[in-house]
Symmetry: C2
Subunit: 397 residues, 2 copies
């Protein structure tokens, strides 16, 4: 087995849940000459991106675009909707749910914390109970796909409960948008925050917030304490004809997003959801065929990343290192309390059937090399069976 | 003369003060496969960027890196240093000086406003007087190069005055850093905020704040109201060994910045300053030879962008449109109160002698086409004479 010095002849494979691999056309557009952000040729790209984004969110809202990561878009939601001392409810069942808590603490909000534990899907009945027990929560914060656990939460049901209590719902969909089904308007979600580097198949550096009119009105009713992430300023600039970014636009990333959105539009958002569902199903089948358990209570909707519990006879850190150093595969292990305990196989964004075959194949060889008994090809075969049974084109990189 | 439909066979020339043209190596690195931000191969790039940045600022501070534009870095300074109600002094002699005022108003600071007018360089004696008349200003905000007017302010003298009054100095160097001479530590400047898209020869999307220990201590003494732009969080993450970005890093942009910083380091920061000074001198000579006046009181240090007053017999908007539609040159006219009155010729970042020749040549032909009497070649010739007299290699694109 090799040491930690990477072999330059190993083909590098990016298999993380973000940043995710880019389609070649997305990569190459960034190497084209940079455009001035007020040049009509760029404004055309910017306008097209703003017009195409709502389809991915399944909304008629304006989608506000920031030069930031997804965490910046999350901060925008907190800074625009919550003033110090206001009471809100935040659901956290993993590292990114906990980011809502950190953001709300930084804003000195009075936070009703719902932390049922990392293995759990948020139960809307618990949210209902907490909102009854803690009257006056005007905003509920939740996570669509919790990247740290692979669990997709039922944000539709959470939004229904929040609506019943007269509260707005804000969803972190950084890793879920465009991978796990989410229909913002139909599901009554007021704000969806996301980033460019997951299913949107663009490098990190764009933060997006799809904001309902009533959320925008709430923000405008309580100004101050924000500028760069102020929704009103960005909405006003984007609503000009033609739209004008309030600050220098991240032009190379927006050009990349333009290409990626066109690909998503061409595939069709329902086909995009179906592809992710199929890739996830094949991954789950592969893991099961290797005798491995899925983490937590994953259900049919865990279509972004599959969290697999690692067997007790192998060192979880060694699995990630072996995948990287022996096979060139960059994959995620567990974070924080799950460090060393799980492997996360991503299928979010520009992923096709053979990416799943590759990840499962790497996992099989790694387990074998680390001394865990495994029948080479068993996981791969089970995944292949899912693709064969699907009987439709499944895409490949 | 053509209409507004661009001729696709016109070679496009970016001559704005930001985004600026990229070196081909910087462009092409962004088309390489995306890396995971925790992958050792990327962490190496990130660490190198953090190590090379201080040289450009001429500082020993940590330079904090954000996924944002330069305005985000400016917001970080306001949010970390100023609490609502605190008294500060802000100097504004142009659109970007006014951004300090907007940011400070958003933060509900008590702002002593020094607005001497757009034509003026900030006079340090005025700053001294205002700090005397308004005791208790703990922070002074200023601008190095005011992009909207082409005027470079004497931030060294402003910092000396601020220091005398016990105040911290914060400088917006978004368009100046790496073009106009600035030596942060020697000049006693506590905080310098900038963006990637000007003399750093990288696309927009990275915000940078070089923060002194005492500025960091002030920030840490007054927590809350910020998360994404919190200096303490980012400093702590960057000081780990190896450094770890607090959020997903904008990997393609950081890889681009890595290439650009290596080019700056190879050229040598003093040579970089000298190149910009020479390009600016040639531009000024060209404008003068055409009988055009420079805007305001530009002095020898206006090395970022040259603002030229347009003659009264031409429509300023038509100059910009003609440059773009007839000659493919994207250049900046005036903003806000200078709209239609000036043309700004940029020489900031990846610019060489023939970029100046091109811009002046385009300006001459445009003035001629718009009916202003001009001797074709006169401005170009005067610029050439400056390059010939310089007697050294001057670089070209």
């Amino acid at each position: 087995m090799s040491g930690t010095v990477p072999n330059p002849f190993i083909k590098k494979i990016l298999a993380t849940a973000g940043p995710t691999p880019l389609p070649p056309r997305v990569s190459s557009v960034m190497a084209e000459p940079v455009m001035y952000h007020r040049d009509p040729a760029f404004v055309e790209v910017y306008e097209r991106v703003l017009q195409q984004l709502p389809e991915v969110f399944q909304t008629e809202n304006d989608v506000l675009l920031f030069a930031s990561t997804g965490s910046g878009a999350m901060e925008s939601a907190v800074m625009n909707l919550v003033r110090p001392g206001q009471r809100v409810l935040a659901c956290a069942a993993g590292k990114f749910g906990e980011r809502w808590l950190q953001l709300l603490d930084a804003q000195c909000a009075e936070v009703v914390r719902h932390e049922p534990g990392w293995r759990k899907r948020i139960d809307p009945e618990d949210v209902d109970r907490l909102l009854t027990e803690n009257p006056g929560c005007e905003v509920v914060f939740a996570t669509l796909s919790e990247t740290s656990t692979g669990i997709v939460h039922d944000v539709r049901a959470i939004a229904e409960v929040a609506e019943k209590h007269g509260a707005l719902t804000v969803v972190d969909a950084v890793s879920g948008l465009g991978a796990a089904e989410m229909r913002q308007d139909d599901w009554g979600i007021d704000v969806v925050a996301t980033g460019s580097q997951k299913a949107l198949m663009t490098p990190p550096g764009i933060g997006l917030a799809s904001v309902s009119e009533r959320a925008l009105a709430r923000a405008e009713s309580q100004p101050g304490g924000r500028y760069y992430f102020d929704w009103g300023r960005t909405a006003k600039a984007q609503r000009k004809s033609p739209p004008a970014s309030p600050f220098t636009a991240p032009v190379t990333l927006i050009s990349a997003l333009d290409v990626a959105l066109e690909m998503i539009h061409t595939e069709g958002i329902d086909n995009v959801f179906a592809r992710h569902a199929l890739l996830a199903k094949a991954t789950r089948a592969g893991a099961s065929a290797l005798g491995l358990s899925l983490y937590g209570d994953p259900d049919e909707r865990s279509n972004v990343v599959t969290a697999i519990e690692l067997p007790g006879d192998v060192d979880g850190g060694a699995v990630v290192r072996n995948l990287r150093d022996r096979f060139g595969i960059t994959a995620n292990g567990g974070q924080d309390e799950l460090k060393g305990k799980i492997l996360r196989i991503a299928h979010c964004g520009y992923f096709g059937a053979f990416d799943i075959v590759t990840s499962l194949s790497g996992l099989e060889m790694t387990l074998s090399e680390l001394g865990h008994p495994v029948q080479l090809g068993a996981g791969v075969g089970a995944a292949q069976q899912v693709f064969v049974d699907a009987g439709s084109a499944v895409g490949s990189s």
